[in-house]
């Protein structure tokens, strides 16, 4: 890694990593750990980048994979709930953003399954169905239906949150 690898190749894409890591973590401490691990993995695997895709796409893919792996490891440690199963509630509220609506949206996203979180994050980042499918490694035909279903669930969760907390 050249001395400015982080500054030149990671920092300009930090927003992607931050948005993804926030969706998979509940506390600031976990978020920083995940962020660090993603950066570390980008550095470790940078030689595998073959320029067949955009560097940003590579970062999306890697960030998601690292977060999914870390989540699995954390879950194993805590043995709270099975993989891809919805948690009953998010244990620690994360007020990471100034915008309260965004905090609520993240709160709702965190209640989705791990894969659904990845799909909706990529959708919100305005990735095409094909790109989403490429990053996640799934069939693009199912993406549209899945997004509709996730959005409906998110809306429900947001409405529920607003009616519960006013």
């Amino acid at each position: 890694m050249s001395s400015d690898f982080y500054t030149s190749s990671i920092l300009p894409f930090a927003a992607i990593i931050i948005k993804i890591c926030r969706a998979y973590t509940n506390t600031q401490e976990d978020f920083e750990d995940y962020y660090q691990e993603v950066c570390l993995q980008i550095w470790r695997t940078k030689d595998n980048f073959k320029e067949q895709s955009e560097w940003s796409t590579w970062i999306y893919r890697l960030s998601l994979n690292v977060c999914l792996t870390l989540m699995k490891k954390d879950k194993k440690k805590k043995s709270q709930f099975d993989s891809d199963e919805l948690p009953d509630e998010v244990t620690v509220e994360n007020h990471a953003f100034v915008d309260e609506s965004l905090n609520q949206l993240y709160h709702a996203i965190r209640q989705l399954s791990e894969v659904d979180r990845a799909v909706i994050l990529l959708y919100l980042e305005e990735k095409s169905y094909q790109e989403i499918a490429d990053i996640i490694g799934t069939n693009p035909n199912n993406i549209g239906v899945r997004i509709k279903r996730i959005k409906a669930r998110l809306k429900k969760l947001l409405i529920l949150k607003n009616t519960t907390y006013g």
Partner: protein, 219 residues
């Protein structure tokens, strides 16, 4: 809920420091830990492989009649493992409370020191392995006909009756073996470095890269 999730997403990130990256003070520390862990794991695996291989050679050599190769090789490999293990244990003496840079620097010097020390051991090990093989083939038991070396000597004496024998061994054969042993000893350091490059090459390169990176950061 008035706004769509798309607009919450877009507008939410427009506000002040929503996307400030956390500081990565510990990144180099993590990288060096990862690198050194990997190196230590490989070193241990290599030693385990050598012990396993020494037993394999010993077990195989007896039924095929090459115990004069198998037994010395078994001892050579295990002595080598003991020496390497002793060197490896000195790694524990490196002060881990130093800064990452200092720690990596010390580690790097330790590594170079050990490469030189073990390289010297190999100037004896490689020729001894070669000699074990020569002995192994010389004393290869070929049933009623006796040892392979004796059969070869008989054949040489029949074809070249003027051959000088030293204790029943053709002088030219001894000269060839001595010359080859000397050559192997002479090139042993290069062979060892080549061996090292194959096994640890990429890790050593990464260590050098990491160190130069940290040096740049310090300037």
């Amino acid at each position: 809920m008035d706004k769509s999730i798309e607009s919450i997403w877009k507008e939410g990130f427009l506000k002040d420091d929503a996307l400030v990256a956390p500081k990565l003070n510990d990144l180099y520390n993590q990288k060096s830990i990862h690198l050194l862990d990997k190196f230590e794991k490989m070193y241990k695996l290599n030693l385990i492989f050598l012990v396993g291989f020494s037993f394999f050679v010993l077990i195989i050599s007896i039924p095929i009649g090459m115990k004069y190769m198998g037994i010395p090789m078994f001892f050579i490999f295990n002595i080598l493992v003991l020496i390497s293990k002793k060197h490896f244990e000195s790694l524990k003496n490196i002060d881990k409370t130093q800064s990452s840079y200092q720690y990596l620097k010390t580690y790097d010097s330790w590594l170079n020191e050990k490469i030189t020390a073990i390289g010297k051991v190999y100037t004896v090990v490689y020729p001894m392995i070669f000699l074990s093989m020569v002995f192994g083939f010389w004393f290869l038991d070929v049933g009623d006909k006796g040892f392979l070396g004796h059969i070869a000597t008989e054949w040489i004496m029949e074809e070249f009756p003027n051959t000088i024998l030293v204790n029943g061994v053709p002088l030219y054969g001894i000269i060839v073996v001595v010359l080859l042993t000397g050559l192997i000893s002479f090139f042993s350091k290069r062979m060892y470095l080549l061996d090292l490059k194959v096994v640890y090459g990429s890790l050593m390169e990464k260590l050098a890269e990491l160190l130069s990176d940290m040096e740049k950061l310090r300037t």
